[in-house]
Symmetry: C2
Subunit: 476 residues, 2 copies
């Protein structure tokens, strides 16, 4: 029997359920099918232009042996793994960790972690938060994995300087290299010379794979393997999904169907896309997707049009008591994606209510999982059938490595298709350059800035000194 | 010298900086001033219609002695406090905990917590997550605080049943009451009879104070006191802010100025409101605000108009590598609120870069805090001055109890003013009723449903059986 795989349900986003204004009509669906068949065909022919699609095959497998061997050799030697990285270098691992270990991993006693280390994903430069983390770990029993393709990310470099100083003072310069793994570009970038100089262990971020598409490279797989996640199953699930994502027909290709709903409805005025998992395990998948979607699709087109749906992460059932009021009675300007899981690790049967607690009889004999699934179905029904809010559902048979790998990959291909539909470059991020240069100017960097306008800066910002003056004058 | 207080900076949201299309002109500001002066005057005269405004005064103080005495008596007796609550019963405490303890509180060894307990805020019904928590705690050393005004919240009741069963099996029925504190309505609701029957310790959610306005009642203050948060300072900061929030002039009243910017720009097409703290401590304030704002303002007016800006939580600097690309180059449909903190607990001086690591010289002699503040200022400048995105800034002298209390209170009053401007009922949440009833139907509840249409249900849903059929037929 074929393995049960991820299902994508779109009925709640069709005109049939939510009406013509808010849902896709059969005619619109046909037009989208034709448009997307062309895009999928092109993506299939030009796979070398999207190197992330090679990751579950050649690229990921070529480093897999080294990743697993290193993680195996280090298992038991470390109590803590500290990840220094930001954006795409942090969000993928966090998604995997929450989904495939538990949201409480770091709080589990060591024996319930099978002796595997705690993980601290440091994706900010808040001094109080960072100092607390440094205070929590025993440097002698800590492995640091610094992740930056360019090696020039100010946040990551500043963290790295502090951690290196602490490690050196605790384990000595000679032993430093046993505590550091670097994940960076194969040849270029500022970290590679340090790797060579100090003889550090390192992994490669493959050429052309941007941070937000890098979760299945050693960026995600090495730290995942350190906490016992089944990386082989992750890549196998990814490969199986890759096959589905090459299909030209929307019915056979969940990434294509997802892009059709999302961009089809964006064109009809749904400016926001809410992803709402009904499983704590998938909570940070929504956060990872939020970066993938925003940084890939929030762009200005060649024609000067500013486009891109705004991704919003939510959480079922929690946000029924926070956001659903707005989602149902506020403006009908969102498309909803419910992430569901069929099987959980346990169900938690509910006991009889104690004497004195009325109105809880209906819970007896049911399980906490029953309640979760009833709330999920009730919310989908209330959103789509009653309030006419377009709502789709992605159903995972269970939140295991095979399916989570498939889910992340499906969302990456959906993003590629959506970017092509919007007519933008899905793989760059020009909008973050100006802020980076401005921060450097405020940190006291001197000298010329090459091609400021290409970086989105005013032409007067030809030097860091000039840029600093501009910022001072702006008075914001 | 007067204590330094919270500052609210709006220049980046004015036409002066972002232009007439995206910012408020002096003429618009004058009109908003007149409109809001009237609203503030009415709110001042009718304080008894918004009972939350009495909380920092009579209501909060009347229970403060009992809250502090109970927390003091229990300190040292428990290793873990488990909070059972959802929505407003959970988000306020989580905001206080992250802001005034640390994001890593539960991971600190006991001595670094001054012997105070860990806290688990359970605001979901995911069976795997809940089972992991139950497995983590030692019931003999655990205090449970169940929080529900009505006592009928299915999520909280189901959690409570499971925890009571576990406690009873570990400590015995006789000792159960030492491990349970109930926060609920003074007289009504399903938990009050249980309190009386079992002789449980309890606190009161004051009449007319909804969950999202309840953080300064025992809903927030009792668990906050259990982890050593200075609840007196919290309420004092709240009272000081209350005084500022009665001023009729926008320049003197930060809540009024906030509402002016938010709703003034919502009327000009900014459908989303992004709150982006540049301090890990304030991360969950943004999450609390997201509920306050969405559930209060996401409404259908008496005239049938669906209104309400969509609140979005973000985090600086992390989201510079995730959302800023969209924020700057995507559609100009958002207003930004940056939360800033002037003083941190530490600064973290950055050491010299090791040989082999080029391009990091500019960091030497600076601190991690310098970098955080440079990134913050650079982002505000890039958003407002370069990309013409309306951006305001709320500056806290530091993230201590006095200021965090003031901040939360200011945002509550801002919400009241915004609701009046939108012409909706700020304090109800009719849009969640239909989903609740649908979930009950799917859980097998029998019998009639009174006034289904008032609950947003179709008229056919006159019984749970009928409602269940409707849901089955909808096929979503």
């Amino acid at each position: 029997m074929a393995r049960k795989s991820i299902q994508f349900k779109i009925h709640g986003a069709t005109a049939d359920v939510v009406g013509k204004t808010h849902g896709l009509t059969p005619k619109e669906w046909s037009a989208l099918s034709r448009e997307i068949a062309g895009i999928v065909g092109r993506l299939n022919r030009e796979r070398d232009r999207t190197p992330y699609r090679d990751v579950p095959h050649r690229q990921g497998l070529s480093q897999l042996g080294a990743v697993l061997a290193s993680a195996r050799a280090k298992a038991g030697l470390f109590d803590d793994v500290v990840i220094l990285g930001i954006g795409g270098s942090a969000l993928g691992l966090t998604a995997l960790k929450t989904a495939l270990r538990t949201p409480y991993w770091n709080s589990l006693p060591r024996e319930k972690r099978q002796g595997l280390p705690r993980v601290w994903v440091m994706d900010n430069v808040d001094p109080d938060e960072f100092a607390t983390m440094l205070d929590l770990i025993d440097p002698k029993r800590t492995l640091v994995n610094v992740i930056s393709k360019s090696g020039s990310t100010a946040e990551t470099v500043s963290q790295f300087l502090l951690v290196m100083e602490l490690l050196e003072s605790c384990v000595g310069k000679r032993n430093l290299r046993r505590h550091v793994v670097v994940t960076t570009d194969a040849r270029a970038g500022l970290l590679r010379p340090l790797v060579n100089e100090m003889g550090l262990e390192s992994f490669v971020v493959p050429d052309g794979v941007g941070g937000r598409f890098s979760v299945m490279t050693p960026v995600g797989t090495f730290p995942a393997a350190m906490i016992g996640i089944d990386v082989r199953a992750l890549l196998a699930g990814t490969r199986a999904m890759d096959k589905r994502c090459t299909a030209g027909r929307l019915d056979d290709n969940p990434a294509a169907a997802g892009a059709a709903v999302q961009i089809g409805l964006y064109r009809k005025g749904k400016t926001m896309s809410v992803m709402m998992p009904y499983a704590a395990a998938l909570r940070d998948v929504a956060d990872w997707y939020r970066q993938l979607w925003a940084e890939s699709l929030g762009k200005t087109t060649a024609g000067g049009e500013q486009v891109g749906p705004t991704p919003i992460k939510a959480l079922g059932v929690t946000d029924q008591h926070s956001q659903v009021q707005l989602y149902r009675d506020g403006p009908n300007d969102k498309v909803f994606t419910i992430l569901s899981v069929d099987r959980f690790g346990c169900t938690l049967p509910l006991p009889q209510a104690p004497a004195g607690l009325g109105g809880a009889d209906y819970l007896e004999g049911r399980t906490m999982k029953d309640l979760l699934k009833a709330e999920e179905r009730a919310t989908i029904w209330a959103l789509a059938a009653v309030s006419k809010r377009p709502t789709t559902q992605i159903v995972l048979p269970r939140a295991d490595a095979w399916n989570v790998g498939g889910l992340l990959y499906m969302l990456m291909v959906e993003t590629s298709i959506a970017g092509a539909m919007l007519g933008i470059n899905t793989y760059d991020q020009p909008g973050v350059e100006a802020g980076k240069e401005a921060a450097r100017a405020l940190m006291g960097v001197h000298g010329d800035i090459s091609s400021p306008t290409a970086k989105g800066l005013p032409a007067e910002a030809a030097s860091y000194e000039g840029l600093r003056r501009l910022i001072d004058d702006a008075d914001v």
